[in-house]
Symmetry: C2
Amino acid sequence: MDRRQQKTRTAIFSAFTALLAEKSYHKITVQEIIDAANVGRTTFYAHFAAKDDLLQALCQELFGHIVGSALDRTHTHGLYSDGSAPESVFCHLLQHLRENDNNILGLLACQSSEIFLRYFKNSLNELVRTQLVERRGAAQLPLPQDFLINHISGSFVEMVLWWIKGRMKQTPEELDGYFRAVIEPVL
Amino acid sequence: MDRRQQKTRTAIFSAFTALLAEKSYHKITVQEIIDAANVGRTTFYAHFAAKDDLLQALCQELFGHIVGSALDRTHTHGLYSDGSAPESVFCHLLQHLRENDNNILGLLACQSSEIFLRYFKNSLNELVRTQLVERRGAAQLPLPQDFLINHISGSFVEMVLWWIKGRMKQTPEELDGYFRAVIEPVL
DNA sequence: TAAGATAACAAACACCTTGTTCGTTTTTAT
DNA sequence: ATAAAAACGAACAAGGTGTTTGTTATCTTA
């Protein structure tokens, strides 16, 4: 693959994420993005059909990666029920978030966080579903499976949002403790 | 207050909500709104500084009202701990939603639902906070108060979203049962 | 019911954003 | 070294925004 393509692609991505830290997604113009990325107008549209496309691509790259790696982890460690606290997938996810390799936290904390939160939650849904189905037969669950999955990933996402907005005063391990406290009783 | 003002205000509101059922908030233009409302351009801007203003006003009117009435209710019935199932505030809230006086459901189900969900959750936070503080001393809580408040209102909002997306197959009473099942264990 | 105030209106405006086109220049891969 | 691929600047039409201006319709209250 042409180096030039990679270069402009990442230039656009990082200019975009930088802008997202400043202002709402919908107030960001393509003009600002290409100025910040130092990229020609034509070039931008050669890579992305529109601003929405860029957003989509960014989400896919970030969340696809983070949840994908968490999914691998569930195969060895399980969601929760193995009892070994610091190995829980959720704890690992939180640690991964705090390390913040590719600035996911920035996106979840920005003015347009709802957009990324929804994407995050959808990704989590799959993760939780596969895990829940593996662990227990559907018949044993005290509540409808769909409801439970939604409750778990929804609670997690809301917790992360709360964490970030509160300036992340808790460690991932503490937070994982809170989460276990509210989720394990209903499993 | 001048009847003309009320008339155009409600005309704009209902045109706006109708449009929201069709397309995303950000793709709706002021032109479409005033066409649908049959209102002059100048008139629109006399009422609202911009599209965002209209959104804000709509949210305030709808959620302010629904949560306000729920808040009154807590003074007589409490959040949950009185034990009388069908009287819980959350159940009442769900019933109120299903009746759908002013089309709140439409907004929570529309393409731009995230916007309204956030607003809804913020309103709920106050409701839950006042209730939680009244009921129990902060010292008795097993988890940080802020975390709990966020968890409760967050879970509720996510549940409502799940309910709507699943075409509301459950009755408010069923749903309230689910909610109690996942919340009461952690109180 | 008449007078004055208030609100709605249409038309035109300057300005900005979008997405596309075209011809040219730079970079890459072979 | 050359041909393909990518980036570029400039210019474009189309459409949205928010404001201004002067006029008309409607309310309030005296």
